[in-house]
Symmetry: D2
Subunit: 156 residues, 4 copies
């Protein structure tokens, strides 16, 4: 299993602004595109997760902008799992210009795992298995470490 | 009761494109801003309507663009009810530049009245009364004409 | 040369609204995606056109919504040239759900041909040739008819 | 001079997603709304700055989401200058639900000061004076400290 998912999209005119570059909030939407394709590569869709009562609302997002993306550029989104705790997932993104491989931006998003009632819950079944496998390949903190971290977090 | 609702908004940088004008799909979102304020002027919010199980999905929209809106412009949205049938509402919009009153764009949207199941339904109670009053003031086709029109439409 | 361009995109979460369908202004952005790919199929990019000093601002857009597009749906955009006059182009769009071919929406956009100064101008060179060829294949009004129509329009 | 600017906006339907909350990238656009109003409070508009050849492209943005904003909520955006160096400005944002004052999200954006050529430049004249005054009231690092910091940053 590859730990990194690569997806490509093309910049829409609607995404540019009058500085003739992509308006910065659109990169956050592109993160979503990358994340959703990473899940598909793990063997399921985010749609399925929602239908199974699991949502991943964003609790934190950051992005560092290095070079502007421009209209009609093809953008490669490289997404990987960067954090996994009992009810929290983190993803890391790199946005590259396809033409020359230049890194345009990078960022991270952190998501809670919640149920239909929007309360914290745990990943289970195939979702837990898939994320767990991805976390192992990515050599993220082991489950034991994650549990310890989560417990510490819950106390604070 | 005034038949026309005027609301003002300011163009966001995010709404511009690299032609240094507002990207055209944003006008459609501004129509929504105007429509929602017209409802509030009629005595209720669209939020309330939804909570009462009534939705107004768009079935048709058109917009004619006359002069570009630009960054930081204040835009006046003039909205009025333009059609009212048993389970269909139409709204008309004019977008003006506040600084000089110039008409930038005008358009129309047509909405079905549906219930929580997304099936056609009828306006009732205070919603029916308010739209009916607005239709009368705006001198739209009378209820009888509207019913006839709706029946003809249903047959076709 | 095919007169119809088909492109596919996948609905983003960002494009949905709380009715759990795609918010209607996004279809207008998808029209742009289709239009841009039609140009590419004609042998050039809209980016090139802009760099050559030709812009195609939208002067009119309409959309009829038949069935909602939903999150993660793959959408096929079928775009064709629908009008061609000296300094005006029209495009027609059909949006279909890829899974079952169902028509979700259709619409049209009309564009002026303008120069860097945003004043009306004429298509020239390879752009004129390509659109002309597309218009012929699509059996749009002949150039003579178009000229007559444009003259009439200019007088009014 | 107040160091904090408060602006209010109302959540648009277009900004919601199918989780029935505001889609997270929209908060980044709201940051822009707050920032632009802070500048206006400082005595000029961002439009003027651009016309005078100064742009403030975003180089970093982060947002922490605490409670969801919902359709039709009125949102108060509290913006303040949080960093000021020779060619770099930082802004801090708090988004509160107007109805009960609850903090929904907070974040920061960092901006380069660039000229028309998109190369780093310095604030000058009234812009420098206004930001400097705001930085003093906000008790940010003094100009001397800022210069030292900028020099250190440039070397690294």
């Amino acid at each position: 299993m590859s730990t990194i998912c690569e997806t490509t999209l093309r910049v829409r005119y609607a995404e540019t602004d009058q500085m003739a570059v992509v308006y910065h909030s659109n990169y956050i939407i592109w993160f979503e595109v990358g994340r959703v394709e990473l899940l598909r590569q793990l063997g399921f869709s985010y749609l399925e997760m929602e239908q199974d009562g699991l949502n991943l609302p964003v609790v934190e997002v950051k992005c560092r902008y290095r070079h502007p993306a421009r209209y009609d550029d093809e953008i490669v989104i490289r997404t990987r799992l960067s954090q996994m705790r009992t009810s929290l997932l983190g993803f890391h993104y790199e946005l590259l210009r396809k033409a020359d491989g230049r890194l345009l931006a990078e960022g991270e998003s952190v998501h809670l795992v919640v149920g239909r009632d929007m309360k914290r819950t745990h990943l289970t079944g195939k979702y837990l298995a898939a994320f767990h496998a991805a976390a192992e390949v990515a050599q993220l903190a082991t489950h034991a470490e994650a549990q310890a971290a989560t417990q510490a977090e819950t106390k604070s």
